[in-house]
Symmetry: C2
Subunit: 319 residues, 2 copies
């Protein structure tokens, strides 16, 4: 049995190995991803995003418990790019979701690696494809919702949940402005804390203000939850189902979602490949080091050096 | 007088205009940046990073007040990539630092834009160069310390301050692991809150654990502050000066810092240029749309489509 077949049949060890290879950017992984592609597109992908400390992991953990009770299989992908060096998410892996770790219907993976050439967005998308191909009904993608990478990631989900907590200080204002457009469902977690009403009002105000955005028929609901006490989780999943219904009830809407996702995927993939191939070539050339020395000596500015190097590289057509 | 001369002489309108052009990626901005480059390298750059809600803006505001009392001129750059669409940082600009807005010795700018092809890191670096060339003594760069972009940005500062608050929940553990390596000074803000001692202990433990990293002679101090009450700010600035002394007292150390910064700048710049040039070419070609349609119809997988497009584009040498 080929590796792709093993993965489609749900072989956990084959899946784990392929994900490791994707993370390490092993070239062979790409061939397997090609074979797997026809088996993707069946899972329902839910993105969960929010600042550190809002309780995303606990929320996801409870959502998994509910989905499992309904006999759904679940893939969980926690994306944590906060750790460029020491792999913070690995630590996270150990402590999170321990209660689901023995459940065969659940597959959990964390990703923190972001290579020298970027690529977290693309490798995350590839891993979602793998969990999809292995047959999971739902894939929950948890990201720290601050950087652009993370927003790109959740935007390719079918349903995106934005998690906030009461009283996060001044910065919430800008946070909200930024994530409003990508949120299909808003959750105020730790809703027993002071300021929950205010946060609810603020969110509601911003959603009302942007009404034209939702003329398409979906107005993001705002829910309250206390994930640690399993409060509000059922309601969140109900809204996910409602949004799923909204998305899938119109073939035009569904096809537009797929088109947008595919367009972003392909763009990101091409970008990654170009950068990796051409930049790698340049950095390992003597010219790069030479230019660096000239800049250090004040003989050339970096803008001119950059222009010269890129022009020469692209003209050569050898990359 | 040319635009570069105007900027070097401190003309605020010329500076504001150039920064807007950098943000909009106006090609002419690049020529001016080349002219300005010889005038850079005099400002001392301090990066301030931390999760949303830790009080970075207030802290920066107080630091500016102290620096101004000492008759230092200050450039402030607030990088907020949380808002991909509606430009959250613009909002932030209006509300933040109002008390310094009439002070000619202070120049404040926010950046949120991240173009289709990325590039926040590079445009931020360009703006730092502009503030440097206009003659500011200190440049304070405030970023939301979560994504890789933001970490890249503060890493190019001379001194990096990591701001945390007590009791941020589970996620602080992974946050700390990730940012430990880039922090020269740690500040526990809102230190009157419950859990400050615990946070101090945690941070101290992690720094001690990583002792080998600091064999070079600088062990990051951990300070407590209550920025809203102007408590602890003097001490933070004292530590910045100590770190500056540490960095500048060794010409080898200083030159290594500059080399690393220049290497990253040039790499990032080349990457940006390649992506912008080649990707733009590809996306506007009929081939991209054609490949997209084939993928939608299930006739080709995106990996293969990507390989074909990139191979063809790079072989052509026409970009």
């Amino acid at each position: 049995m080929g590796i792709a077949d093993k993965i489609v049949s749900g072989d956990v060890r084959a899946v784990a190995r392929l994900i490791r290879d994707i993370d390490d950017m092993v070239p062979e992984a790409r061939a397997i991803l090609k074979d797997l592609y026809p088996f993707t597109g069946r899972a329902y992908v839910v993105g969960i995003t929010g600042a550190p400390g809002v309780g995303k992991s606990t929320l996801v953990d409870q959502m998994v418990a509910h989905l499992r009770k309904a006999a759904k299989t679940v893939g969980i992908l926690a994306v944590d790019p906060t750790s460029p060096f020491s792999g913070g998410a690995i630590l996270g892996d150990r402590v999170r979701m321990q209660r689901h770790s023995m459940d065969e219907g659940v597959f959990i993976r964390s990703m923190a690696t972001r290579g020298y050439f970027g690529g977290l967005t693309q490798s995350t998308r590839s891993v979602i494809d793998v969990l999809d191909a292995m047959g999971k009904d739902y894939i929950l993608v948890e990201t720290v919702g601050v950087g652009q990478d993370e927003i790109d990631i959740v935007q390719s989900a079918h349903t995106t949940i934005i998690v906030v907590i009461p009283g996060m200080g001044d910065d919430i204002q800008t946070l909200k402005a930024g994530i409003l457009e990508v949120g299909d469902i808003f959750v105020i977690n730790k809703a027993d804390r002071d300021g929950a009403d205010r946060t609810l009002m603020d969110l509601r105000g911003m959603i009302e203000m942007d009404e034209k955005r939702y003329k398409d028929g979906w107005k993001p609901p705002i829910l309250t939850a206390q994930a640690v006490y399993d409060k509000g989780i059922r309601e969140i999943l109900d809204e996910v189902e409602k949004h799923r219904g909204y998305l899938t009830s119109s073939s035009e809407r569904l096809s537009r979602h797929k088109y947008e996702k595919t367009r972003k995927d392909l763009t990101e993939m091409i970008k990654d490949k170009i950068v990796r191939q051409v930049l790698d070539d340049i950095i390992h050339s003597g010219e790069f080091e030479e230019a660096l020395q000239l800049i250090m000596k004040g003989k050339v500015d970096p803008y001119t050096a950059c222009d010269n190097i890129v022009l020469k590289e692209l003209k050569s057509g050898k990359s």
